[in-house]
Amino acid sequence: MKAMILAAGKGTRVRPITNVVPKPMIPLLGKPVMESILEHLHDAGFDQIVVNTSHLAPVIQDYFRDGTHFGVQIAYSFEGLLDRGQLQGEALGSAGGMKRIQDFSGFFDDTFAVLCGDALVDVDFQKAVSFHRERGAVATIILRDVPREEVFRYGVVATDPTGRITQFQEKPKVEQAVSTQINTGIYIFEPSVFDHIPSGRSFDIGSELFPALVKCGAPMYGVELPFQWVDIGSVPDYWEASRLALRGGIRGFRIPGREVMPGVHIGINVGWNPNRCTVRGPVLIGGSTFIGDGAAIEGPAVIGAGCVIEPGAVVKECILADYTRVSSVARLDRLVIFGNQCIQPNGEHFGIEETGVSWVIDDARAKQEFAPVQQELLQLAREIAD
């Protein structure tokens, strides 16, 4: 079967993480979210997958290439252009991106699935496709029920008793929502859906295509299937998803590395003496990371690969990108360190370079050169730490 992964978004709600990587490449315990999606699609019998890319497209394409390593065939539909040596994204919207692929080669020649590249799902696609075909639908949306106070974040859908969709609302106010069933961004389509999508311009599935389908009376259905949906749509989502994954709370998601003590998973070539530092799980320590004597790591925490946690440093409930150096005087408490930024779980952030805190936290490969004021602070912090 064929599928399409939507991967062209800018991911503005996950900034500043998405300044460096596009949303589908956000690492959950070191593994890009889209890799888990591909694995699930593969297991569900999808073998040909087109991915539309735009923002930071090469990060996606250089990782997944033609899909061989993931047991599927992958091709990309790049939305943008190369201008004076720089790739400029010009995303066409979700439906516009589908139409571009269809106009290009007529790729979608049978029932196909479309899903977002930024949420881990273990939806039963066989069931969804059976539901879709039994009803002769042109489009079927996988729905989920959410608490009423959360509906304002999503597209809300009203269905009749047969599952046929009667109404759509894009991010309604809580008091105006017609139901608590929301669009999860997972769709099953027939190729005839392309009759309703204009060519060569931006067009959105949720806010343009679906209202158009409802209006013309096309058979469109929604089905609520029980499945786990781990959305990485914002920094708080990413924070919660990482902690959930560390606790083993995401079905089918394996914590990498070897469990050397309860809840403590480590990669290979880790330089540490477990008897001389304090590590309290759940913690994942990436390969080739160094942990100095007297350092303390308190979970849930992810320490990326190639990190240096200097002797005496304290890292409490943090997610550190690969190659993060944490100085012996540092005390990191509930922070994501990614792309040279210190990010709080609510998304507030400050730049490491911008604030001149490279004497506390830095790239492990960087040459250590400190300005006089930084040296003075470092000395003072050392006196306190002692």
């Binding site: 005087v329 005390r331 922070l335 210190c342 400050f350 604030t355 001149g356 306190i384």
Partner: protein, 116 residues
């Protein structure tokens, strides 16, 4: 740099009205605090509630002001939030300064220890 001063008993409460304490303003910031000390203010609460950004130079200016006050003076920090509070914690400067969530708490703490 703009400040708003308010005297509560013996304690001078100085609210920083600018959003940033960075390298470009650090010398003026330091000079301003030195002037408070020269005027005889030995208990100062620095209200950082309106500050949204502080860098290492800003921290350095605060540290040297604290040092210049010597043993008889006292400087407390109140109302640091978000990234600013996080900066103090990350660098352990929250152990160098006496930090309080509110101005009232900072004022009471300094009032107890203020030199008569």
């Amino acid at each position: 740099m703009r400040f708003e001063e308010n005297k509560v008993g013996d304690v001078l409460v100085a609210k920083v009205l600018d959003g940033r304490i960075a390298a470009d303003v650090a010398p003026r910031f330091k000079a301003h605090l030195a002037e408070y000390v020269r005027q005889g203010n030995l208990a100062i609460v620095l209200d950082l509630g309106a500050v949204t950004f502080i860098d290492s130079s800003g921290l350095g200016a605060l540290v040297s002001s604290l040092k210049s006050m010597g043993k008889e003076g006292d400087l407390a920090i109140a109302g640091a939030q978000g990234g600013v509070a996080s900066m103090f914690k990350l660098t352990r400067m929250d152990k160098v300064f006496r930090m309080y969530p509110t101005i009232n708490e900072a004022v009471s703490a300094l009032s107890v220890t203020a030199v008569p």
